[in-house]
Symmetry: C2
Subunit: 317 residues, 2 copies
């Protein structure tokens, strides 16, 4: 008889990733599809994206061996129902548990059941995790009302800073980068003409797509641009405040950093880690590198309380 397998699925706004492992965390398959959030993409497109990722991950595997599955997805039961048909379509008959993306991110970074997760990608949210459930949250209010310190926030403030710099500043490298991305090498007769063109260009596409400028801020800060460095410091301050809103000053449980701005080595990630080290000196600060592996581990835990965390599995992280 074959050993039981589990599926971990991490559904994000831009990609859906699947990992199939055994209870020891050994990988049997992986798959990747497009963004699979039913709210953002519509139920059909979301089901197709998740289905494609499952197809790839289950290639050559008997789906009857899958005994537990965990799907990490922002949103509630309505979001999950949009994906309900995907599972029987792939021969998966075991229970499929939906868990908030913050809990999955936390599990991807630490084996501890309790702690704090801070996610900064396009949006930003901090959450208290207790017994692998989400407790208090802070921010996550979306680009219009919050997401302070997120990729959108950085991109928006980079454009604002470029406008201010053109109007009354010294012409920093960040301004040149933003200008180049928004209006290329176009020449303008007046400063006001340039400002108008930049404002118009910044409004092409939905506001949230201003997050496309966040990498420019990271790049400029790395090169020493003072405005970019200030924005990074301010973003880190927002993220720390959100974290402190859900985490006591004496807390020593792990902190997990997640999202594209914090899981690779960026000036923002370094700054956030420094400030966290100063504020919570006893706490481990880990990164959630692979949400799907975290989800698979949670699925494995439901079958075997001793299932090893991905970070402890050789070749499984």
């Amino acid at each position: 008889m074959s050993d039981p397998l589990v599926i971990g699925l991490d559904v994000g706004g831009t990609s859906s990733r699947v990992v199939v492992t055994d209870l020891n965390g050994v990988r049997f398959g992986t798959g990747r599809g497009g963004g699979g959030n039913p709210v953002a993409h519509g139920a059909q497109a979301a089901a197709a994206a998740v289905g494609a990722a499952l197809d790839a991950a289950l290639a050559g595997i008997d789906p009857g061996r899958v005994r537990a599955a965990v799907i990490g997805l922002a949103g509630g039961s309505m979001e999950r129902r949009a994906l309900d048909q995907v599972w029987p379509d792939h021969g998966i008959t075991c229970p499929v548990r939906q868990i908030g993306d913050a809990v999955v991110a936390f599990a991807a970074g630490t084996a501890s059941p309790d702690g704090t997760v801070l996610i900064a990608g396009t949006g930003a949210i901090a959450g208290q995790i207790t017994a692998r459930r989400l407790g208090l949250i802070s921010d996550g209010h979306g680009w219009l009302l919050g997401d302070r310190g997120s990729g959108f926030w950085l991109g928006l403030h980079a454009v604002r800073a470029a406008l201010a710099d053109i109007e009354e500043g010294i012409g920093t490298s960040l301004t040149a980068m933003i200008r180049d991305r928004l209006v290329g090498q176009s020449v303008f007769a007046t400063r006001r003409g340039l400002v108008s063109a930049l404002i118009t260009a910044a409004h092409t596409g939905p506001p949230v797509t201003l997050s496309r400028f966040a990498p420019l801020v990271l790049e400029a800060a790395t090169a020493g641009d003072p405005v970019a460095k200030n924005l990074i410091a301010e973003a880190a301050g927002h993220l720390l405040r959100s974290t402190a809103a859900v985490r006591g000053p004496e807390e020593t449980s792990p902190i997990v950093l997640a999202g594209s701005l914090l899981t690779v080595s960026t000036p923002l990630a370094r700054r956030v880690r420094e400030e966290m080290g100063a504020r919570w000196p006893g706490a481990e600060v880990a990164s959630a590198l692979d949400g799907a592996a975290g989800a698979a581990w949670l699925a494995a835990l439901s079958l075997d309380p001793g299932a090893p965390h991905p970070a402890a599995v050789v070749g499984g992280g």
Copy 2:
């Protein structure tokens, strides 16, 4: 032979107003139509709105008597062309001069050719006026990138403050007002459910319509709400900074306040006036109460350099 008449037209986002006067500022007709900005409303609707206002203002008046017209409108020549046919349709054959809305607002508030204008309605902009032309400007970047201290800014920050107050505050009266306007008397099982409902409700309609909450901030500040008072102080700070960006510290020319937030007696208008009095003690701070009258005065000036300013005309202000 009848005395010559002039037309002043103030075209705004929500209304278009027309005044017909003689060269002494005595009113012969007034009219009002819907929003007449061709960019915001489309060329046809804009022409219809302006046409309706002109119909009313010219009732019983021989249009051949009109010798000069000034139209105040944000935007450039493209915007004006959308309204070109309106004038011959009403028998107006004299030159029609288009002037930026900031210059018209300034003229409505003072007879001086030089000074500073600060406009705060849905948006916010400060401008330097020299010889009745717009020089330096500050902000006016629109709700996404700027308009700091505007009605949109106040409304946005009122909703943000309400969310923060619900999550970790003391429950101020402003929060109760915002909650009531967004979700009425609905009851929520959890604080998080309330926050989610408020966020969803705040996203109905285009973001710029968050300016609808600005009057709540003014009202709450008047009643002593500490959060509202802080928002007013912060908005005033933004407006003062925009003003200082286009006005030297030793400047003594007049400052004209315009826009719905500053032309009536609001806590914000009082705060702005106080801070301006402290920063530019020698300067007159006037209000642009009637943009159409300002436009008509500019039209009269083009025929008679001694035409009296509306503020000096009994019954003409």
